[in-house]
C-alpha cells in the first residue's frame, strides 16, 4: 500500500494520541478534556451520518481518529460513553457498504476492543458482526470479520466452555443454513463451524447438526462444505492437535547455557522464567487426560435418516446437476455412514450398477465407495449382482492388467465385509487369475484366495484351500458365519484377567500359609479381605499388581509340600471354592471355560484397578500377537481399520501398482526426496559446509588447521624433519599415551 497522502487538516498540532496517553494515566484529571473530545466526536458523527457516502476525506479521517480515542478510553468513562457501542453498531449495520475502508476497519476493531475491555459482551459483538459478514460484498471486510469472530469465540471458550454463547451462535448458524437452502450464505456457517471444530472449541453434537443441515442444502457449495467436514474434519482436528504439541518447543538447556554466558539482565532473567513456565505448562498438558472427543460421524443424530436423505436428494435424484467430483464426495459420505453405522439403504446398491464399468470416470472411487457401503448386515443377494458385474466388466484376460487388478481387489474388499456374496464358480474363476503374468493381478487374486481360506474355505477348490484351512475345516474350527450372525460379545482380554486373578489368589494363599506360621491375627484380616471388596484392591495403585518377585519365590517353595497347599485352599472362603479347582484341571471343556469367564464379568464388579490391569494385559497380549506368538486375526483387524478410515480409491488401485516398473524420472524423484537441494554440481561436503555457514555456525578445528596459511605451518614441518630418532620416539610414545587418556580433553574419561 502506498503511503497515504497527508492532507492539510491532519497536520494540526493537537495530538489525540498524547491525549489518550494522558487520559489513561490519570482519567480523573482529564475528564474535562475527554468530554470535549466526546462532544467533538458526537458532532463529527452527526456530520458523518448526515451523508455517509459523500463524506469528505478530512471528515472521515477526523472521525476515524476520534473513534479510536473514544474506544481506547471508553472503559474509564462508562457514563459519558454509554451510547458509544450502540453508535458503532448502528454505523456498521447501516452504512457498512459505503463506509471508507479504513474507517470500517477501525469501527470493527473498536467494537472488538470494547469487548476486550468488557464494555460490551460477546453475544452483542457477535450478533452485530455476523449479519454483516454474511451480507457485505467486500472481501477484505469479510475476512476481517471472519478472523474477529473466530478469535472472539475462541477467547470466550478459552478458560471454560461458554455454553450460553455457543448455543446462541450455533442456533444462529443453524438458522442461517436452514432458512434459505438455496443461497450460498450457508458457506459461512460451514466455515465457522469447521474452524471451531478444528480448534476443538466446539466438540458436541450441535455443530455436527449444523453441518448435517448444510449437507442437505440445495446449494452445491454449501453441500460440499458440509460433506468435506464429515470426511476430513476429524483428521484435521487431530493434526491440529499434534501441531499444537510440536510447535514452539523451548530448549531449556540452551536457555540455561545462555544464562551462564550472557550478561545478566532483568530481561534475560524474565525470559528464563518464561521458558520455565512454558515448559511446566507443556508438562502439565502432556500429563492431562486425553480429551475425549467423538468424531463427527459418531455424533450425528439419526444417521439412517440422514444417509437416506443425502442419497435421495443428491445422488438418486436425476435432476441433480452436481459435478461428478462433488457427487463422489457425497457418495463417499453416504457409504461411510452406511458402513460405520451399519445402515440399510437397499436402493443404494442397485444405483451403483450403472457406474461399475471401466469406462466410468473415477471408477476406482466408485469401487471404493461400494466396498465402504458393504457390511455384514447387507443381504448377500443384493450385492451378488454387483460382484458379478464387476467380474464381467473388469476381470477378463482381454482387459488391461490395471483394470483387472482393480476389479479383483475391489471384489476382495467387498467380500471381506460380506463373504456370503460370492458363489462358487465365480470365486474359483477369480482365484485362477493367480496364474496371470502380471504381478498386480496375481497379488489381487492371491489376496482373494487367502481371504476365503479364512472365512469360507468350502467355496475354494481343495487344492487352493491350504493346510490350515483344511485342518480347520476338519476340526470344525472354521465355521461359516450365517447371514446376520454376530460374534458373541465379551470383554476383550477378560480371560487374561481371570487367569491373572487366579494366579494372584494362589500367591495370596501361599502368603497366608506363611502368615499362619507366624501370626494368626493377620490371617484373620486376610480372610475378611477375601470375602468382600477391600479398599486396597479398589485403587489402581494397589499393592496387588505390584507384588514383588520375592513372594513368588516363597510361594514356589511352599508349593513343594502338598499338604500345606491343600490346607491353604481349605482356609479360603467357601464362595471361592469352585473356581480354583476349575483352573487347576489342565484340560477343560471350552464351554465351561467360556462360562467361567463370563462369570467373572457377571458376578464381580470390575474395579478401576481391575480395568487398569485389564488394559495392561491386553497390551501385553497384543505385543505377543505382533511377535507372532499367537495366530493373527487379520480379517478383523482389516475391517476395523477400514471402519476408522474408510476405503479410498488408492486402496483399490494398490495392487495394480505392484508389478509396475517406475520410470527413470520417478526413480530420480524418489531418490531426491528429502535430500538437500543441489542446484549446481557440488560435493556433499561443500553443500554441508555452505549450509553450516548459512546457519551462522563456525568451522571445526580441523577445518581451521586445513585452511591455515602455509607459511605459518612450514616452520613446524621443517623442524619435524630435523628431529633425532630419540625425539621422534618420545613424541610417538607421548602420542599413544595421550590417545589412551582420551586426548588432551580426556574424552570418555571422567
Amino acid at each position: 500500500m502506498p503511503k497515504r497522502k497527508v492532507a492539510a487538516l491532519e497536520k494540526v498540532e493537537a495530538d489525540l494520541v498524547s491525549l489518550q496517553y494522558k487520559i489513561r494515566r490519570d482519567p480523573r484529571s482529564y475528564a474535562q478534556e475527554f468530554y470535549d473530545q466526546w462532544l467533538a466526536y458526537d458532532a463529527q458523527r452527526q456530520i458523518f451520518v448526515s451523508s455517509p457516502a459523500t463524506a469528505s476525506n478530512e471528515d472521515v479521517k477526523k472521525f476515524h481518529d476520534l473513534v479510536d480515542l473514544v474506544a481506547h478510553v471508553a472503559n474509564l468513562y462508562p457514563e459519558i460513553t454509554a451510547p458509544f457501542p450502540d453508535h458503532l453498531k448502528e454505523l456498521l449495520n447501516q452504512h457498512h457498504a459505503v463506509l471508507d475502508k479504513e474507517l470500517r476497519e477501525k469501527i470493527v476493531g473498536s467494537l472488538v476492543l470494547l469487548k476486550r475491555k468488557d464494555v460490551i459482551d460477546s453475544t452483542g459483538l457477535l450478533t452485530t458482526l455476523f449479519p454483516i459478514l454474511i451480507n457485505t460484498p467486500s472481501k477484505t471486510l469479510r475476512s476481517l470479520l471472519y478472523t474477529k469472530i473466530i478469535s472472539d469465540l475462541r477467547e470466550a471458550n478459552n478458560k471454560s466452555t461458554n455454553h450460553k454463547l455457543n448455543r446462541t451462535i450455533q442456533t444462529v448458524l443453524h438458522n442461517l443454513v436452514t432458512s434459505d437452502r438455496t443461497s450460498t450464505k450457508g458457506m459461512w456457517a460451514c466455515r465457522i463451524t469447521r474452524e471451531l471444530w478444528r480448534r476443538q472449541v466446539w466438540t458436541d453434537a450441535r455443530p455436527v447438526d449444523v453441518m448435517k443441515e448444510a449437507c442437505l442444502s440445495d446449494n452445491e457449495k454449501v453441500v460440499v462444505g458440509g460433506v468435506r467436514f464429515f470426511l476430513g474434519g476429524d483428521k484435521e482436528r487431530e493434526e491440529a492437535l499434534e501441531d499444537d504439541d510440536s510447535d514452539d518447543d523451548v530448549d531449556l538447556k540452551k536457555v540455561k547455557h545462555q544464562g551462564t554466558i550472557n550478561k545478566k539482565t532483568k530481561k534475560r532473567s524474565k525470559q528464563y522464567e518464561k521458558a520455565i513456565e512454558k515448559i511446566k505448562k507443556q508438562e502439565k498438558k502432556k500429563h492431562a487426560p486425553h480429551p475425549l472427543n467423538f468424531s463427527a460421524l459418531h455424533l450425528i443424530h439419526d444417521p439412517q435418516g440422514f444417509a437416506e436423505k443425502l442419497f435421495q436428494k443428491h445422488l438418486q435424484n436425476t435432476k441433480n446437476k452436481f459435478s461428478l467430483e462433488n457427487k463422489l464426495l457425497v457418495l463417499q459420505l453416504v457409504t461411510r455412514l452406511v458402513g460405520l453405522h451399519k445402515l440399510t439403504i437397499i436402493s443404494l446398491y442397485s444405483w451403483f450398477v450403472k457406474y461399475l464399468s471401466p469406462k466410468q470416470a473415477n471408477v476406482t472411487s466408485f469401487l471404493a465407495s461400494l466396498a465402504q457401503a458393504t457390511h455384514n448386515l447387507v443381504p448377500p443377494d443384493v450385492i451378488e449382482p454387483l460382484i458379478v458385474k464387476i467380474a464381467n466388466e473388469f476381470v477378463s484376460e482381454a482387459s488391461a492388467v490395471e483394470v483387472c487388478a482393480a476389479g479383483i481387489n475391489s471384489i476382495r474388499e467387498v467380500a471381506m465385509r460380506q463373504p456370503l456374496c460370492m458363489n462358487e464358480t465365480l470365486l474359483q474363476d477369480l482365484v485362477m487369475y493367480q496364474k496371470s503374468k502380471d504381478k498386480g493381478v496375481v497379488m489381487a487374486a492371491k489376496g482373494l484366495q487367502s481371504l476365503y481360506r479364512e472365512v469360507y474355505p468350502e467355496l475354494l477348490q481343495k487344492k487352493f484351500r491350504g493346510k490350515q484351512a483344511t485342518m480347520g475345516l476338519r476340526s470344525g474350527e472354521i465355521k461359516l458365519r450365517r447371514f446376520g450372525e454376530e460374534e458373541e460379545g465379551g470383554i476383550e482380554g477378560l480371560d487374561l484377567l481371570a487367569r491373572y486373578k487366579e494366579e494372584q489368589r494362589k500367591k495370596k494363599a501361599a502368603e497366608e500359609e506363611e502368615d499362619e506360621n507366624g501370626e494368626k491375627k493377620e490371617k484373620k484380616d486376610d480372610d475378611e479381605e477375601d470375602d468382600g471388596f477391600n479398599s486396597d484392591e479398589w485403587e489402581i495403585g494397589s499393592t496387588d499388581s505390584e507384588s514383588s518377585g520375592g513372594w513368588i519365590d516363597v510361594s514356589s517353595d511352599e508349593e513343594d509340600d502338598g499338604p500345606a497347599k491343600k490346607k491353604a485352599r481349605k482356609s479360603k472362603g467357601g464362595a471361592d471354592d469352585e473356581a480354583p479347582d476349575l483352573v487347576d484341571t489342565e484340560k477343560e471343556d471350552p464351554a465351561a471355560e467360556a462360562e467361567r469367564i463370563t462369570k467373572l464379568a457377571t458376578t464381580t464388579i470390575l474395579t478401576p484397578a481391575d480395568l487398569a490391569k485389564l488394559q495392561e494385559l491386553r497390551r501385553e497380549a497384543k505385543l505377543d500377537k505382533m511377535l507372532g506368538t499367537t495366530q493373527s486375526k487379520r480379517k478383523k483387524e482389516l475391517i476395523e481399520r477400514h471402519i476408522e478410515d474408510g476405503v479410498t480409491a488408492e486402496d483399490i488401485e494398490l495392487p495394480a501398482t505392484l508389478g509396475k516398473k517406475s520410470t527413470k524420472e520417478e526413480r530420480v524423484a524418489l531418490a531426491r526426496d528429502g535430500k538437500p537441494g543441489r542446484e549446481e554440481h557440488k560435493s556433499t561436503q561443500a553443500i554441508r559446509k555452505s549450509k553450516k555457514e548459512a546457519e551462522g555456525k563456525s568451522t571445526t578445528n580441523k577445518e581451521k588447521a586445513r585452511k591455515k596459511n602455509f607459511l605459518m605451518t612450514i616452520g613446524k614441518a621443517r623442524a619435524k624433519n630435523k628431529r633425532s630418532l630419540v625425539e621422534t620416539k618420545k613424541a610417538l610414545t607421548n602420542h599413544i599415551a595421550k590417545s589412551k587418556q582420551g586426548g588432551r580433553r580426556r574424552n570418555g574419561i571422567n
Partner: protein, 338 residues
C-alpha cells in the same frame, strides 16, 4: 591460503589505474528506455502550467479543491482568498453555488493554520446571507466540532464563525435541530462549567482550577471571548420574536402557496431518525427558555457568578452574560404580554 590471496587481490584493485576508453559511446537504440533507476511510486503534478486558457469556472473549481488538498499553508490561504475574491466581485462568480462552497470548505474550520482560518471567515462573510440559512444545521455541526477541538486557537476562531452565523441567520441557529441544547452543551464544556463531567466521574472536589490543562495557555482573554460568545448566543435565543405583520393573504398563502423556506416541515421530522431531547428543534422562544431553565440555568449562573468575581475582562464579559440571562428571565412575561 586461497582466501588470503583473494583478499590481497581485492585490496590491490583499489590502487589499480582505471583504463579510460577513448572515443564516442555507441549510439543508443531509438527505443532505448533507461531502466537503471528504481522507484516505488511516480508522482505526476496535476497543476496545470498555464492558467490563461482555463475558463473561470474550471479555475474556481480547481482552487476550491486546492483549499482542501494543498499541502502548503500559503497555497491554501491563497486559494481561499481567490474564492473570496470571486464571490465578492460584482457580479459574483460562483459556479458551484453557496452550498457547494460550504460543503467543500467547512472542514477547513479546523485547519491547522491560523491565516487560513482567518481567510475562511472572510470568505464566509462574503457569502450571500440569504443563502446561508438553509445550511445552518450542517454549519453548526462543524462549529460544535471546532468548539471542543483540542487546539485552543481553533476554538477561538470557531467562535468568530459562530458570531458570523448568528449575524447572518440567528433565528435559524437557535431553532434548528440540535442548535439550541447541543450548542449550549458545547459552550459549557468549553468553559468548563460542566455538570456532566462531575457526575460522570462520581467524585467530589471538582474545582474549576483543575480544568483545561492540555498544553493550552488559556488566558483571561480567551475565556472572556467565550463568555461573550455565549452571551451573544443566548441573547439571540431569548430575543423576543417580532410580531408577524398582519397580512390578509397569509391564511390562504399558508394553505395554497408553496412554502418559500427550504424544508418547511423539518420540525415534523418525517424522514429522519427520531430525535432525542438534545436534537429536538426548539422553534419558539418560550420552549427554548423552558428547556434552558430546566437544564442549564443553574449551571450557567453558577459559572457566571464565579467568572464575575474574577473581575477584569472576564468579569465584564460575565456581566454581559448576566444581562443576557436576565433578558431571558424578563421575557416570559413580555412574551405572555404580547
Amino acid at each position: 591460503m586461497g582466501s588470503s590471496m583473494r583478499k590481497k587481490r581485492e585490496k590491490k584493485r583499489d590502487f589499480n589505474k582505471a583504463k579510460l576508453k577513448v572515443g564516442r559511446e555507441k549510439a543508443k537504440a531509438a527505443n532505448f528506455t533507461d531502466t537503471s533507476f528504481k522507484s516505488k511510486s511516480i508522482h505526476i503534478n496535476q497543476g496545470a502550467l498555464t492558467s490563461d486558457n482555463i475558463d473561470s469556472a474550471e479555475q474556481f473549481k480547481q482552487n476550491l479543491s486546492l483549499c482542501i488538498s494543498a499541502k502548503s499553508d500559503n497555497q491554501r490561504r491563497e486559494a481561499v482568498a481567490y474564492i473570496t475574491n470571486q464571490i465578492s466581485s460584482t457580479p459574483p462568480n460562483n459556479p458551484v453555488g453557496t452550498s457547494g462552497v460550504l460543503t467543500k470548505l467547512l472542514p477547513l474550520l479546523s485547519d491547522a493554520s491560523t491565516p487560513v482560518r482567518a481567510q475562511l471567515l472572510k470568505l464566509f462573510q462574503a457569502l450571500p446571507p440569504s443563502e446561508v440559512g438553509a445550511h445552518v444545521e450542517k454549519i453548526l455541526m462543524y462549529i460544535r466540532g471546532g468548539m471542543t477541538h483540542l487546539a485552543p486557537d481553533i476554538r477561538t476562531d470557531t467562535l468568530s464563525i459562530l458570531d458570523w452565523l448568528l449575524d447572518v441567520a440567528g433565528d435559524e441557529v437557535v431553532s434548528c435541530s440540535g442548535g439550541w441544547l447541543k450548542t449550549i452543551n458545547s459552550f459549557s464544556s468549553m468553559l468548563g462549567w460542566n455538570p456532566n463531567v462531575g457526575s460522570a466521574m462520581t467524585s467530589k472536589g471538582w474545582t474549576t482550577a483543575s480544568k483545561a490543562t492540555l498544553g493550552t495557555k488559556k488566558g483571561p482573554e480567551a475565556q472572556a471571548r467565550q463568555i461573550q460568545a455565549l452571551a451573544r448566543f443566548l441573547e439571540v435565543g431569548f430575543k423576543p420574536e417580532a410580531p408577524i405583520p398582519v397580512k390578509s393573504a397569509a391564511y390562504w398563502d399558508n394553505i395554497y402557496r408553496l412554502p418559500t423556506t427550504p424544508n418547511p416541515f423539518a420540525y415534523l421530522n418525517l424522514f429522519g431518525i427520531p430525535r432525542d431531547e438534545e436534537n429536538e428543534m426548539y422553534l419558539d422562544r418560550g420552549s427554548r427558555q423552558r428547556v434552558f431553565d430546566a437544564k442549564w440555568r443553574a449551571t450557567i449562573e453558577a459559572g457566571m457568578e464565579g467568572a464575575r468575581k474574577e473581575g477584569g475582562p472576564v468579569g465584564r464579559a460575565a456581566a454581559a452574560l448576566g444581562r443576557a440571562l436576565n433578558g431571558g428571565l424578563d421575557s416570559p412575561e413580555s412574551g405572555s404580554g404580547n
